[in-house]
Symmetry: C2
Subunit: 247 residues, 2 copies
């Protein structure tokens, strides 16, 4: 241990206000859906200026701990949804120059296990959602955008059926990055669309049959196919992933 002193850190007021409110949200004193006091009220309670409160609110808003329902003024406490948090993670990965290979490798790791879990634990509702995703892709994959959207929807539906809420959230940033990369190349690998549809059907069939091993192996095949797609289209797997769109 060093005997040196740590530098004193004076947190500015807006950060202390934000932390105080965040703490109340995290310890459930303020719950999902609860309306936040008005800005003037908060300013009075913290004994700071409204401007300071507003800066704190922007911080919380950006952390998705508070939000505003559309067309309303009052802020309410909100639990962050997967896609919102995923955006941040996706940006972080892209800014750290993560490569397509790294993203793909992680999906190769995650998705087969996810499919396996889904085969074991899918409910009628989640299974129906997977079916809807497969049908959605089959019905519309003409444009690159629609096709990529369908691919992502399928992965999301399978993860949702896995009975593990960590998996969708873990997977989401990868989907964002994969989607951005896939949209660029899907038109360059002609057989891709058909192979994707076929793999989706096989995974779905296996999950419906509660056949975990087959679900796993077909999902593995499905993910591996994306690598082939990248190779066929002449993309170097070690190029950084394109950054997903800004907020």
């Amino acid at each position: 241990m060093s005997t040196a002193f740590e530098p004193l850190s004076f947190e500015p007021g807006y950060r202390r206000v934000a932390s105080a409110i965040a703490a109340r949200i995290l310890d459930r004193t303020l719950r999902d859906g609860d309306p936040l006091p008005s800005e003037v009220e908060l300013a009075a309670q913290f004994a700071v200026n409204r401007s300071t409160v507003r800066e704190a609110l922007r911080e919380l808003e950006s952390s998705n701990l508070v939000a505003r329902r559309r067309g309303t003024k009052r802020m309410v406490v909100s639990r962050p949804a997967a896609t919102q948090v995923a955006g941040r993670v996706g940006h972080a990965l892209a800014l750290n120059d993560v490569t397509v290979r790294e993203v793909w490798e992680t999906m190769e790791l995650l998705e087969p296990a996810t499919a396996e879990a889904a085969a074991r634990r899918a409910t009628p509702e989640t299974l129906a959602a997977i079916r809807a995703a497969v049908e959605g892709y089959a019905a519309d994959h003409a444009t690159a955008h629609a096709a990529v959207g369908g691919v992502a929807a399928f992965f999301r539906a399978v993860a949702a059926a896995s009975g593990n809420r960590v998996l969708p959230l873990t997977q989401e940033p990868l989907l964002m990055l994969l989607a951005a990369a896939l949209e660029v190349i899907i038109d360059r690998a002609p057989p891709a669309r058909a192979r994707i549809g076929a793999a989706q059907r096989q995974v779905l069939a296996a999950i419906e049959a509660r056949d975990a091993a087959t679900a796993r192996s077909w999902m593995a095949k499905h993910v591996r196919d994306f690598r082939r797609g990248f190779e066929i289209s002449g993309i170097d797997l070690d190029t950084p992933v394109p950054a997903p769109a800004a907020d």
Copy 2:
């Protein structure tokens, strides 16, 4: 397609300013380390008030896209670090009442594969870091806090050695949640500390020997042990994870 109209959404100024700056960061016009213009300058460029700029800056700061070096005024563009982004994800998971079982299950999925990759791709430096983590745990695991810190450090070191930068970032929120939960129970499962140390040594040895299969299986054992720890200490695996500390 529906013929109904989308609701017009008027983004407030502070959000448009934040998005504009974020876009410049994501497209690399502004790069890591670049100083941001001063608030007054930004206000002039966007033709808005300084208060509006400040609210936008708070948003970017909260997204970890800009930061300030300690003891300095000027904001600089920064690429978000793993731990910073992980905090957000951890909060989101905790607020969504994710259970210990779900976190543990995901780690059981992730960590063995991570260890396997580390055995294949560890460099002298990353290997040394794992060794240091193992020794650090061995040297100091008296308090619950130190022990849990050592556990997390080990996982981090292995993930860093995996040669895949997505893995540390994916793993980090799980570590935060596991750490919060583990700190509560580690003293209730007496044999845990010794078993942890032993497993770390085995994984390390396997990675040093480039034995991917053994690294995987010992890491799997290591992770499984945490489940036993929870069971022994009488914690229901289906209780929600405790929320990690606020910012």
